[in-house]
Symmetry: C2
Subunit: 286 residues, 2 copies
């Protein structure tokens, strides 16, 4: 089952990511609807041709008419929504999401949905430091990674549909990972990096830093401007895995600290060479 | 004393930064010479009109003809050079540098130079992850900070000359800091950030990370591709100050670690809010 523009898509939660999905899919000719509690978001999206129609209410008819429903909500709101309204989703509909952590939602949502409605989780690895549908910009998907996160309950056709959705959205690379492996990757690549940036910003309140800063500090702390409500929920939803990755990082930082402390230049240079060699592979190819 | 293009400038050490200085100053009409042990660097710079002339030897006539000499060498090579050749610098010449740490060079170089030759230290806060004069690009100075680092021995006129050099090079902001305060700032803003990036790259050898990475990891580790010879020297040249900043950062990272460990969401959100508020001030204004 490959996606095509005859499919009707409903986006639940029209924030930044929901808006970017809508923008990308409308451009491809899909029929896109949205549900969001914020009337301004729906109005903005209709006015700017990001969606065909939208509502602030849980509209049974709209939900029943969707072929694919994308949830772009905080994890606990997503689960609550499914508990309250999951019965409105018609048989044959494919449900997907954008949640940044998977173990905490995927099994529960799959168990809550009615018979014949399949939930296939996905993680679009893209974002901005600004919020809301008003900042939608589907170019953030270009050059970025999209991960489909199936469980044993998922069908081959739903996995393929979800992969083709990632391609339609414009992602550079679409891959497939089990939930546990996904959460481990994300703990290291995304959650730990945010922990580091936040810790660094909290480590000094010197107002003069601003004047003397270089690009290295700016780049390293770009993500320190963080949505505290969302990220604290995601951190705790992946708590044990994140703690393991924080431990691994603390160990290497301590190793480097001891090199400086003990004037161990050779060991320091060896760490720097490993770091340089690994980092060279990470430059974007697009 | 304000700089003007009648001044003859000699650059000792024609790597990336030396090359960027040459490029910027030639564009402004200065007479620019260079000394570098690598013949290819001199040849490249002459061919690409970055310098008017250059040599791989310590040319007494060239040195004596310079009004301003810029040293763009590793700290220990800079000091050795002054020890061996400082007597060739004529009275009235102003000497400056680009060294990233100041306490370890500025007092010693000032004490080594002949009477009538003034050393005024400067730190151009700009760089690239590539090396060599072949990668010269003076646009790295745009939007960046330039710090003049005088001691009590420096004259008002040399400080002013050095400030106007920073402006001629195209820096967005030129400021003045004593060596100790400079080294403290740099330990936090530059050295600590490199320690963090190196530690993070060393914390996992999973080859699959590459496929699942997002921009946050890429940005945070951009500086993890590091010149190990130069940075290990700079770290150890600023050892105690760097250790203090590493300690301060370890403390805040541990605080966040404990928030995750103890499910303390309120404290975690409070750190994230402080981080976000501080970070918003750091966006480049140019």
């Amino acid at each position: 089952m490959i996606i095509d523009s005859s499919k009707k898509i409903l986006i639940v939660g029209l924030g930044l990511l929901g808006g970017c999905y809508a923008m990308a899919l409308k451009k491809k000719g899909y029929d896109v609807s949205a549900i969001d509690i914020r009337k301004e978001s729906i109005d903005y999206a209709v006015e700017h041709n990001l969606i065909d129609r939208g509502t602030t209410k849980v509209d049974a008819e709209l939900i029943a008419s969707a072929d694919i429903i994308v949830f772009a909500l905080y994890p606990h709101i997503f689960i609550d929504w499914i508990k309250q309204n999951g019965h409105l989703i018609k048989k044959g509909t494919v449900v997907t999401d954008v949640t940044g952590v998977k173990g905490c939602v995927v099994y529960e949502v799959q168990s809550l949905l009615p018979e014949g409605v399949e939930f296939i989780a996905a993680h679009p690895m893209a974002g901005r430091e600004v919020f809301g549908v008003e900042n939608s910009d589907d170019s953030i998907f270009r050059g970025a990674n999209y991960i489909v996160v199936p469980t044993e309950k998922n069908s081959y056709s739903a996995i393929e549909l979800c992969k083709s959705l990632g391609q339609e959205l414009g992602f550079a690379d679409v891959s497939v990972l089990p939930p546990e492996r996904h959460d481990e990757m994300i703990a290291f690549l995304s959650q730990l990096t945010h922990c580091i940036a936040v810790s660094l910003m909290c480590a000094s309140d010197d107002p003069n830093l601003l004047r003397y800063t270089g690009d290295s500090f700016r780049d390293l702390t770009r993500i320190a401007n963080i949505n505290d409500e969302m990220w604290s929920e995601l951190f705790l939803a992946n708590r044990q895995t994140l703690l393991s990755q924080m431990d691994a990082y603390k160990t290497t930082f301590e190793r480097l600290y001891n090199c400086v402390k003990n004037n161990d230049r050779e060991e320091m240079r060896s760490m720097m060479r490993i770091s340089s060699e690994r980092r060279r592979n990470f430059d974007k190819k697009d």
